[in-house]
Subunit: 337 residues, 2 copies
């Protein structure tokens, strides 16, 4: 592009503020920020909120007005996880012809879990000549790294992934959401209350299955509690967790495909015991067997860096709702200008 | 494509025969095979040589006639390592407008080490509307996996790679070529005799530097001997290697870039001691630090599978000499037809 990329930060929470700082550092012009109309940050400078000094652009509560007036090349949407909750926001962007990147986890591959909204979103983007991409840590580490690893095989018979992260790194809300500190009985009750929204790993499995040219047949998900093998301290809740008490949970997601190639993904999210670290390990059985592992990935930072890194790709992508494996290889660019 | 891909196997040695078997299994039509005019395999059936039963196509010694008569979509060139030696063969293909994939290691990125031939090759391909791609295990494991890992970073300060393979897996020629079984004195003398052709890792470093948008400044290469810490057996040479004797060698390649970001690659190729395994580990320092590791990669098989996997991409690529990071993500396809 011959001029600076113009971006609106849509959702100015913790992640949104990191995005602002990184986008600014890459040479993107921040032309607007959108918060909840009732939020205390309405009217505050986006640069000040992001810790980089005033940018002369303030948070507004009126999304449609901000997007219409600033005409950004892209809106970086950091609001919520599931597409149904996010719909009014991304529908607005698509209606106005504004490209979107969003960290909403379901949007990494919403086609099976929200087929009707996905079709509407894709059609609206195409009608208004813009693109939308659900992205984060997933893009490379759970998506393109795995589909390309499979691309190095002559044939494959199974895919297996294991990821682990420390729920104690993300504040008290995340720790409580992962049911840290509960006994087994309370955990079982709370699990039931939460209902059956699909875990992030379902979208990861769906993306991999589609990217490998396989056909989804069924999925089962099993959630179990992780417990402390010794007394450990949970810093985000500021409590000690005695031996035997819940430290979080783990999801085991099992996919069957019509081709008979199973995809199994396990994600452990818990307060770590001494010596435990973030992990991301994948194994594909086939000809030949292949594997990849990323040691101690900085999962949260990598969500921000991958979103920012993908902005030029989303702007130049064909119109529609994008899938990770259809994107060009993610590319290092020190700056975009 | 609406019809089968047609391929000529150019060079029907050990690797070429595996290519034939894999291409046939993917639904590629093998329309010709080219050997040295003096070779004993001239006139033999390609399928029989590849162990899959007769295909009704025999090895010829006349490359130009075979390529002209069979009009393949691609020639799979498995002859030698360095572009200068390979030139007559790839020049012929480019002149005839035949797409090429070659496992010649220098062709992964020949632009710095053979700039004049690279420019001529690229121009000839463009003139005749065909593509050429130097490829193998490098494509994903030393190329796209690393450039994309960097693409997940906001900024980077250094790149470091370590690869190790067992020279005892590739027969006596490779073991001797890696100077297995020599004393330190003889190793030093033999090293001098070999001269200074760049190691494979130079092309890997060049590709990464270009793919990251950096600028090559200088490269130094340091070769040292690896020695047995205990008596071990070398099966390819059928000898015992006493403690202290050479088991192979290691290359340390150090690149400087104008941007001040160093790239360091170490490759160990030796007869393994008990417990040692193939390795591929890369670390990029930056924001954040990232890393990737492939456990026990089947380096030799993966060269064949990646070449075959890339055939449709090379056929549909723009004309010219291709770079790995400009290719689409390598994709798993059970068959091509």
């Amino acid at each position: 592009m011959s001029r600076k990329i113009k971006a609106v930060q849509y959702g100015v929470g913790a992640m949104g503020r990191v995005m602002i700082e990184m986008m600014h550092d890459k040479g993107i012009e921040i032309v607007g920020g959108i918060g909840r109309p009732t939020s205390a940050i309405i009217g505050q400078d986006l640069g000040t909120l992001a810790g980089i000094g005033p940018l002369g652009v303030v948070v507004t509560g009126d999304a449609e007005k901000t997007l219409t007036e600033t005409k950004p090349d892209i809106a970086v949407v950091c609001i919520t996880t599931y597409l149904a909750d996010l719909w009014p926001h991304v529908e607005l962007c698509a209606r106005l012809g504004v490209n979107v990147v969003t960290i909403a986890e379901e949007c990494f591959y919403p086609w099976r879990t929200e087929p009707e909204l996905s079709r509407r979103w894709d059609a609206l983007c195409k009608q208004n000549h813009c693109s939308a991409y659900g992205i984060g840590y997933q893009d490379f580490y759970w998506g393109n790294q795995i589909t390309q690893l499979a691309g190095t095989c002559h044939s494959i018979t199974s895919v297996k992934g294991f990821a682990q992260f420390n729920v104690d790194d993300y504040g008290p809300e995340v720790a409580r959401d992962h049911m840290v500190g509960l006994t087994a009985d309370v955990f079982a009750v709370e699990r039931k209350k939460k209902g059956n929204r699909p875990s992030y790993m379902q979208m990861v499995g769906d993306l991999i299955i589609d990217g490998l040219g396989l056909t989804f047949k069924s999925v089962t998900e099993d959630v179990y509690q992780t417990t402390a093998s010794q007394e450990i301290f949970c810093k985000s809740l500021n409590v000690s967790l005695p031996k035997g008490i819940g430290t979080g949970n783990a999801n085991r997601t099992h996919f069957e495909t019509l081709e008979g190639i199973p995809v199994d993904i396990e994600m452990v999210s818990k307060v770590y015991e001494p010596g435990e670290t973030d992990q991301n390990k994948w194994e594909i059985k086939g000809r030949p067997d292949v594997s990849v592992s990323n040691e101690r990935p900085a999962t949260d930072i990598l969500t921000c860096t991958e979103v920012v890194s993908r902005i030029p790709d989303v702007i130049s992508a064909p119109a529609g709702l994008l899938k990770a494996f259809e994107m060009p290889p993610i590319k290092y660019r020190r700056r975009f200008d």
